[in-house]
C-alpha cells in the first residue's frame, strides 16, 4: 500500500487557511493547463504561505504540514509531520474546512520553474533553484550563511535538477525534480552539513491511485474458440491470425481501466487488440518460433518481436478493400492484417505507461524534521502501515491520550515480565528458512509489458507435520515503490521452460494463472541459473505435493512446443462422471529429454519420437535435463539429442526491366522473412529457436516445400501473400524460395533410442489395469517417416523397446496410426483418408487387410486416435470428428460426426476419455495457443461428450492419456456394464 496524501482533516485547519490563501492567488493568474511563466506573481502562494506557516511554528509545533500541489490541480497535504511523528498519516475522513473542498482544485495552478534566494522560512539556509545555461534548472546552495554573514560566501552547484526547492524549519530541503516531477527530500541535512547528501524521492500517491488488488474476475469465458461448425479449408487462415486479444492487465499505478470492463469483447473478433500486447504474447512458451513454422500457418503464430506499426507496411496497396476484412479469407498469410482493423484501438488507449503524479509545488516550511531521524517516506510501507495509520487517525486527538500511553507502557512491562527471564526457552514455532534468493527478470503484469529486474526469494517452511511448503517471493519496484508478489508453491501446477531465442526463461502457472492464461514469467541471466531455479522450484513443488520418483504407469504425458516433456499423475476424479477434477488443477512435472510425440500405455510402456523422427523408449528413470541431484534418478538417464530445421524465405518481385529482383515495392514484405512475411529473417540474423540449440549446418534451399518448386527452389505467385506453385506463369509477379538450416540440441533424460527406423507416429494399445492376460506382448503400431506402417513385435513391460518391426503393406504413404483397446487399428494416409485394419489380434498382430474409409466431406484427415471403443479423427482444419455407427460386427462404423473445431491434436484413452490440444483458448488476461483440454460429459451412451474443460497451456503440442485407466471408484461397475457388450 502506498502512502497517501489525502485531503486534510479538521485538525489541520490552521494549515488549510494558509493554503487556501495561497490557492486563491494562485488561481487568479494562472491559465489552466500551462505551467506558468516565471513571474513575481507566481511567488505569491508561497510568499503568503510561508510566513503563516512560520508563525505557526511559534504557536505549536504539532500541526505543521508540508504542502504540495500537483499539476492535475489536486491540492494535497502531508499531515502531522510534527517533531514526534515523522510518518505521514493518511486519513479516510475528509471533512473539508471552510476554505477547502476535499477535492479542491487549484485550476492547474502549476508553479513553473522558479528561482528564489534568501531565507524562505525559519532561520533559513539559502537554497536556490536557478536556471543556469540552457533551461535546466540547477540547484544552488549558498555557502557560509550565518547570523554574522547573512549574505554567505559563494554558490555551490548541487547535483540534481529541480523545478523548485523549499526549505523547512530545521533546514530540511524539499524539491520537485525536473525529470520525473516527483517530490524529493534532501537526505543527510544536519546542522554541520547543511547541503545534505542526496536527493531521495518521496513516495507520494493519492488515495485514488491505490492499486486495487482484488482479482479482476473475467467476464470472458474461456475457450470461446471452440464451436460446432465445421471449419472449412478456405478459412484456415483466420485461425492463425495473430489475435492475441489479451485483456489489459492494469498497471498497479493506474486507475481502474474502465474501458476493459465496459467493452465486452468477442475474442474471435479480437476487438481489444493491442499491437503491443500481441507482441508480448509471443514471448510465451506457446509460440513456436515463427521461423520454425515451416510455412504451415497453424504452427506459425506470427510476428514475434515486431514493432507495432509494421502491420501497416504489409498491406498490399492493390487490395485495400481486403484489409479491414480480417476474416482474411483467401489470404493464407494475413497475420498482420488481423490486427490492422483494430490498430487504432491500441493507439487510443487512454492510459499511458507512465501515469504517475506530476508534482508542481512543495512547501516544507511547516515541517520540522529533526536531523538524523528515520523517515519512512521513501518506500511504500509494507501493507500494514497505511491502515494502521488510518486507524490511528480516527481518534487523532487521542494521540497523546493517557490511555494510549498506558497501553504502550503496559505492553513494554508485559514483555519484560513474561520474556526477560525466559529468553533461553525454546520458541514453540520455528521461523521459516530462506532457501534461495537471487536476481531474475520478470515479465511485468502491466503495460507496457517488459522484462523488469526483480529480486526473488524462495522461502521454505517445514510444517508441523514435517511436510515442506514453500513460498516464492518476487520483489519488484514500480514507480520507485517496492512491491512484491508471492506464489505458494503447493498451488503451482507447472513450471515450464519458455521458448525464447534470447532469454533463459520459464513460466509458472497456478490454476488461477492458467485460467487467466497469464503465467508468472521469469528469466535468468544464464542457462545454469535458470536450471538451478527450475530444478529447485520444481523440487519444492513436488515435495509439497509429495510427488517423486518414477511416474506411475497410468501417468498422463504431454509435450510442449519446445519439446519439453511433462507428466501428470491422474487422480481418480479426473475421469469421474460427477465432481470431476478441473483439469487446470492437474500438477505437471517435467521429465528430462526432448521429444515431439510421446505415447504411453497403462503397463508402463512409453515411446517417444524426436523432432528428427528418432524413436525413443522410456527407461523407467526420472529427471535428467536440468533436473540433477535429488530430482533425478541415478540410473536410466542417457544423453539424448535432437535435430530440427529452421526455415526462412527469400522473397522477390518481378520488375519489367530487370526481371525478378530482391527489390520489392515499398509496401512489400521483407525480402528475407518468415513464412508469414511479417518478420524479417535474414540468413545472418536468424537464430536457433532457443539458446539450447546450436547450428549444425549451413543454409540450404529446401525443395520439399508444399506446392512444389522449380529447379532453383522458387515458388511463384501473383502476389504476397497468396498460394504458391512451383512453375512460373505470366500472372506471377512474385516468387519465394525456402531456405533451411539444421540445428541440434543435446540434453539428457530417461530415454533410449530405438534404432534404426525413423518414425512419424506411434501408438500403443491402451489397456485397463483389470484387463486379464498380461501374458501376451503389447501391441504397438507406428508409421515411419517415409510413411510405412509398422507393427512392433515383442513389446512387454520388461522389454518396452520390443524386438523387431513387422512391415504392414500399404498402397500409399501413411501419416498417423492408432490402435484401440480391442485391437482396432485405424490409420490416416497422407492423402487425408482413413483406413481400418481388419483382423488384428494377439495371434495375428499385423491383421490382414486395409478397409478404406472416406474422410468427412471436403476434409483431409491428419490424425486418428482410438480408445476402448471410440474412434476420433482430426482433419487438417482443426475439426474433431467422432466415428459413428461402430458396432462389434461393423467396426469400421458408418459416419463421421463433427464434434468440435479448434483442435490441434487428440488423444482418446482406455476409458474412451477424450483429451485434445486446443488451438486457441481465451483466458481472462490472455490468449493461449496449444492448450490441454478435456472433453466433459463423455458417457458410455454419449461418447461424444458435451463440452470442454480447459487445462494447462498455451504452448502444448501433444498429449497422451492412453495410459490412464484410473476410474473413479463409484463409476467402475457402471462403466464395465456399459462397455461390456460392445467391447471386443
Amino acid at each position: 500500500m502506498p502512502l497517501t496524501f489525502p485531503p486534510p482533516t479538521r485538525e489541520t485547519r490552521s494549515g488549510i487557511r494558509a493554503c487556501g490563501d495561497g490557492s486563491g492567488s494562485g488561481t487568479g493568474d494562472t491559465s489552466p493547463g500551462t505551467p506558468g511563466p516565471r513571474s513575481p506573481q507566481r511567488m505569491t502562494p508561497r510568499n503568503s504561505l510561508t510566513p503563516l506557516m512560520t508563525s505557526l511554528s511559534a504557536g505549536g509545533r504539532l500541526q505543521r504540514s508540508p504542502w504540495a500541489a500537483c499539476q492535475s490541480g489536486l491540492c494535497l497535504c502531508r499531515e502531522r509531520c510534527g517533531i514526534e511523528r515523522m510518518s505521514a498519516t493518511p486519513t479516510r475522513k475528509a471533512p473539508g474546512g471552510p476554505w477547502w473542498t476535499p477535492q479542491g482544485r487549484w485550476s492547474r495552478s502549476a508553479v513553473g520553474p522558479m528561482t528564489f534566494c534568501g531565507p524562505p522560512s525559519g532561520r533559513g539556509r539559502p537554497w536556490s533553484g536557478k536556471e543556469s545555461t540552457g533551461t535546466t534548472p540547477k540547484v544552488w546552495f549558498r555557502r557560509g550563511v550565518n547570523s554574522h554573514n547573512p549574505c554567505g560566501t559563494s554558490w555551490i552547484e548541487m547535483v540534481g535538477e529541480m523545478v523548485m526547492v523549499n526549505v523547512g524549519l530545521n533546514d530540511q530541503v524539499w524539491g520537485i525534480s525536473c525529470e520525473d516531477r516527483a517530490v524529493y527530500f534532501r537526505q543527510g541535512v544536519t546542522p554541520s552539513e547543511l547541503s545534505g547528501k542526496t536527493w531521495k524521492a518521496i513516495v507520494a500517491t493519492r488515495e485514488c491511485d491505490r492499486s486495487h488488488s482484488g482479482s479482476s474476475s473475467s467476464l470472458l469465458s474461456a475457450g470461446c474458440f471452440f464451436g460446432d461448425e465445421v471449419r472449412a479449408s478456405s478459412d484456415s487462415a483466420s485461425h492463425d491470425t495473430d489475435v492475441s486479444s489479451e485483456v489489459e492487465r492494469r498497471d498497479p499505478e493506474q486507475p481502474l481501466p474502465k474501458e476493459s470492463l465496459d467493452n465486452p469483447q468477442n475474442p474471435n473478433e479480437s476487438s481489444a487488440l493491442d499491437p503491443g500486447a500481441s507482441r508480448t504474447a509471443e514471448c510465451d512458451v506457446e509460440n513456436a518460433c515463427p521461423v520454425v513454422g515451416r510455412g504451415e500457418p497453424t504452427q506459425a503464430p506470427g510476428p514475434s518481436g515486431r514493432p507495432a506499426e509494421l502491420p501497416w507496411t504489409n498491406i498490399d496497396l492493390k487490395e485495400p478493400k481486403k484489409a479491414p476484412n480480417h476474416s482474411a479469407a483467401g489470404l493464407p498469410e494475413s497475420t498482420g492484417l488481423a490486427s490492422l482493423g483494430l490498430f487504432t484501438l491500441g493507439l487510443e488507449e487512454p492510459y499511458g505507461a507512465d501515469d504517475h503524479l506530476l508534482w508542481a509545488w512543495v512547501s516544507g516550511g511547516g515541517c520540522a524534521v529533526e536531523a538524523g531521524s528515520v523517515l519512512k517516506w521513501f518506500t511504500v510501507q509494507s501493507g500494514l502501515s497505511p491502515s494502521v495509520q488510518t486507524l490511528s487517525l480516527s481518534i487523532t486527538p487521542a494521540q497523546t491520550a493517557a490511555w494510549r500511553k498506558q497501553i504502550f507502557q503496559q505492553l513494554t512491562e508485559r514483555t519484560k515480565r513474561e520474556l526477560e527471564n525466559f529468553r533461553h526457552y525454546e520458541q514453540a514455532v520455528e521461523q521459516s528458512v530462506w532457501v534461495k534468493t537471487g536476481a531474475l527478470q520478470w515479465w511485468c503484469d502491466w503495460k507496457p509489458h517488459k522484462w523488469v529486474d526483480v529480486r526473488v526469494a524462495l522461502e521454505q517452511f517445514t510444517g508441523h507435520d514435517g511436510a515442506r511448503d514453500s513460498i516464492l517471493f518476487i520483489y519488484y519496484v514500480v514507480h520507485e515503490e517496492k512491491k512484491y508478489l508471492h506464489v505458494f508453491l503447493n498451488e503451482v501446477t507447472v513450471l515450464v521452460p519458455v521458448l525464447n531465442e534470447a532469454k533463459h526463461s520459464f513460466a509458472l502457472y497456478t490454476p488461477e494463472r492458467t485460467r487467466q492464461r497469464w503465467p508468472v514469467r521469469l528469466a535468468a541471466a544464464t542457462e545454469q541459473d535458470m536450471n538451478d531455479w527450475l530444478a529447485l522450484l520444481s523440487l519444492s513443488c513436488c515435495e509439497s505435493r509429495r510427488v517423486q520418483g518414477r511416474p506411475s504407469p497410468q501417468a498422463i504425458w504431454s509435450i510442449t512446443c519446445k519439446g519439453d516433456i511433462f507428466v501428470s499423475e491422474p487422480s481418480p476424479d479426473l475421469e469421474a462422471h460427477e465432481h470431476l477434477l478441473p483439469c487446470d488443477q492437474m500438477f505437471w512435472r517435467q521429465m528430462g529429454g526432448h521429444l515431439r510425440v510421446v505415447e504411453a500405455n497403462s503397463r508402463g510402456v512409453v515411446w517417444g519420437i524426436g523432432y528428427d523422427h528418432t524413436a525413443w523408449v522410456y527407461t523407467g528413470g526420472y529427471g535428467g535435463g536440468c533436473f540433477q541431484g535429488l530430482a533425478s534418478s541415478t540410473s536410466n538417464i542417457y544423453t539424448q539429442s535432437d535435430v530440427k530445421s529452421v526455415y526462412i524465405y527469400e522473397n522477390q518481385r518481378w520488375n519489367p526491366v530487370t526481371g525478378y529482383t530482391s527489390r520489392g515495392l515499398p509496401t512489400d514484405r521483407y525480402m528475407w522473412s518468415d513464412a508469414t512475411g511479417l518478420q524479417e529473417c535474414t540468413k545472418a540474423g536468424t537464430k536457433p529457436p532457443s539458446l539450447q540449440w546450436t547450428w549444425v549446418s549451413d543454409w540450404y534451399v529446401d525443395f520439399s516445400i508444399t506446392g512444389g518448386t522449380d529447379q532453383e527452389g522458387w515458388q511463384y505467385a501473383s502476389d504476397f501473400p497468396a498460394s504458391y506453385h512451383g512453375y512460373k506463369t505470366m500472372k506471377d509477379f512474385v516468387r519465394r524460395r525456402c531456405w533451411a538450416r539444421k540445428c541440434k540440441l543435446v540434453t539428457s533424460g530417461p530415454w533410449l533410442e530405438v534404432a534404426p527406423i525413423a518414425l512419424g507416429d506411434v501408438s500403443i494399445i491402451p489397456e485397463s489395469p483389470e484387463a486379464e492376460g498380461h501374458t501376451h506382448s503389447i501391441a504397438l503400431w507406428a508409421v515411419s517417416d517415409k510413411g510405412d506402417v509398422l507393427c512392433r513385435l515383442g513389446v512387454s513391460e520388461l522389454n518396452p523397446a520390443g524386438s523387431s518391426w513387422l512391415h504392414v503393406g500399404t498402397d500409399q504413404p501413411f501419416a498417423s496410426v492408432s490402435i484401440g483397446a480391442c485391437y482396432q487399428v485405424w490409420a490416416v494416409a497422407r492423402d487425408g483418408s482413413a483406413f481400418y485394419r481388419g483382423s488384428v489380434s494377439p495371434s495375428q498382430p499385423a491383421g490382414d487387410c486395409w478397409y478404406h474409409i472416406p474422410p468427412p466431406p471436403k476434409q483431409r484427415l491428419s490424425q486418428v486416435s482410438v480408445g476402448q471403443t471410440s474412434v476420433y479423427a482430426l482433419d487438417e482444419n482443426g475439426n474433431l470428428w467422432f466415428r459413428g455407427g461402430i458396432t462389434p460386427s461393423y467396426p469400421q462404423g458408418s459416419s463421421w460426426d463433427h464434434v468440435s473445431n479448434n483442435v490441434r491434436r487428440v488423444s482418446v484413452g482406455p476409458l474412451d476419455q477424450v483429451w485434445v490440444i486446443a488451438n486457441k483458448v481465451q483466458g481472462s488476461h490472455g490468449l493461449s495457443r496449444g492448450t490441454v483440454c478435456h472433453r466433459t460429459g463423455v458417457q458410455p451412451r454419449e461418447p461424444k461428450g458435451q463440452g470442454w474443460d480447459y487445462g494447462i497451456g498455451g504452448g502444448w503440442d501433444h498429449i497422451s492419456v492412453r495410459a490412464n485407466a484410473t476410474k473413479a471408484v463409484r463409476s467402475v461397475s457402471q462403466e464395465q456394464e456399459a462397455h461390456g457388450p460392445v467391447c471386443c
Binding site: G383, F408, A428, S432, D469
Partner: protein
C-alpha cells in the same frame, strides 16, 4: 513516542514461558522431564505443542497414547481459546513459567473439543475470522478475499509470520471513510466466576451522539458487574493480552490494535487479587 504499529507487533510477539509436565498418572517407561517452551500468546495450544507431544511420547508406550490435552490447576485448557486468553483468564496472577499438565488419557469429553488435526484449528480460526468480519463489515471484506488470502492468514498464524498475516489482515481492519469505525465490534468477555463461557453482544464503536464508545462503555452495557464498584473499590481486572487498558480507551482503537488474529477482542474479567 511509539507508533501504533508497534502495538500490533507487541501483541503478535507476546510469549508466555511455559513448563509442560506430564500428568503423574500417565504410564511412562522412564521418567518424563518437564518441557519448557515459549508459547505465542496469539496462537492455539494444539497448534504449537507438537514439540511437547513428541517429547513426552518418547518416554511412553504407543498403546498408552491417545489424544493429547492440557490442564492447568485442574481446569482443562480449551485449545480453541487463544493461549493468551487462557493464561490471562486462569493464570495471570500466578508465577511464571506457566505450569501446564499434559494428559494423554481420560480426555474430558464434556469440557474440551477434540482436535483431530491442524485442519480443525484452521477451520475454527477461519470461522472466527469470518464471524468477526460479519460483525465488522457484514462479511464484505472476507468474502471479497480470495482463498489464497484466507490461506495466507492461516499460514501467517501457523508459521508465526507477522508480515505475512498482517499483509492480509489489514484489509479486515479497514472501514469505509464515511464511517467512524466498524459496524459492530467483535468482542467476547470471559469471566471465571460464571458458568457462562463468554458474553458476546452487538455493540457499536460509536454512540448515537457520535462519541466514540470506550472500553468502559462496553463493560457498563454488557457486563456491568465487571466494573460496578460495590463498595467503592473495583474488584476486577479487565485484561487483554496481559495488560489492563484504561476504561477510557476507545473501543474502535482496541478492536483494531488489540484483537487476536481471529479478529476478536478477547477480554478477561479477573477477580482482583487481594494482596
Amino acid at each position: 513516542m511509539t507508533d501504533d504499529k508497534d502495538v500490533l507487533r507487541d501483541v503478535w510477539f507476546g510469549r508466555i514461558p511455559t513448563c509442560f509436565t506430564l500428568y503423574q498418572d500417565e504410564i511412562t517407561e522412564r521418567e518424563a522431564e518437564p518441557y519448557y517452551l515459549l508459547l505465542p500468546r496469539v496462537s492455539y495450544l494444539t497448534l504449537v505443542t507438537d514439540k511437547v507431544k513428541k517429547h513426552f511420547q518418547k518416554v511412553m508406550r504407543q498403546e498408552d497414547i491417545s489424544e493429547i490435552w492440557f490442564e492447568y490447576e485442574g481446569t482443562p485448557l480449551k485449545w480453541h481459546y487463544p493461549i493468551g486468553l487462557l493464561f490471562d483468564l486462569l493464570a495471570s496472577s500466578s508465577a511464571l513459567p506457566w505450569n501446564i499438565t499434559v494428559h494423554f488419557k481420560s480426555f474430558p469429553e464434556k469440557d474440551l473439543l477434540h482436535c483431530p488435526s491442524k485442519d480443525a484449528i484452521e477451520a475454527h480460526f477461519m470461522s472466527c475470522v469470518k464471524e468477526a468480519d460479519a460483525l465488522k463489515h457484514k462479511s464484505q471484506v472476507i468474502n471479497e478475499m480470495q482463498k489464497k488470502d484466507h490461506k495466507q492468514l492461516w499460514m501467517g498464524l501457523q508459521n508465526d509470520r507477522f508480515d505475512q498475516f498482517w499483509a492480509i489482515n489489514r484489509k479486515l481492519m479497514e472501514y469505509p471513510a464515511e464511517e467512524n469505525g466498524f459496524r459492530y465490534i467483535p468482542f467476547r468477555i470471559y469471566q471465571t466466576t460464571t458458568e457462562r463461557p463468554f458474553i458476546q453482544k452487538l455493540f457499536r464503536p460509536v454512540a448515537a451522539d457520535g462519541q466514540p464508545h470506550t472500553l468502559g462503555d462496553l463493560l457498563k452495557e454488557v457486563c456491568p458487574s465487571a466494573i460496578a464498584p460495590e463498595d467503592g473499590e473495583r474488584r476486577n481486572q479487565v485484561m487483554i493480552h496481559g495488560i489492563e487498558p484504561m476504561l477510557e480507551t476507545p473501543l474502535q482503537w482496541l478492536s483494531e490494535h488489540l484483537s487476536y488474529p481471529d479478529n476478536f477482542l478477547h477480554i478477561s474479567i479477573i477477580p482482583k487479587q487481594t494482596e
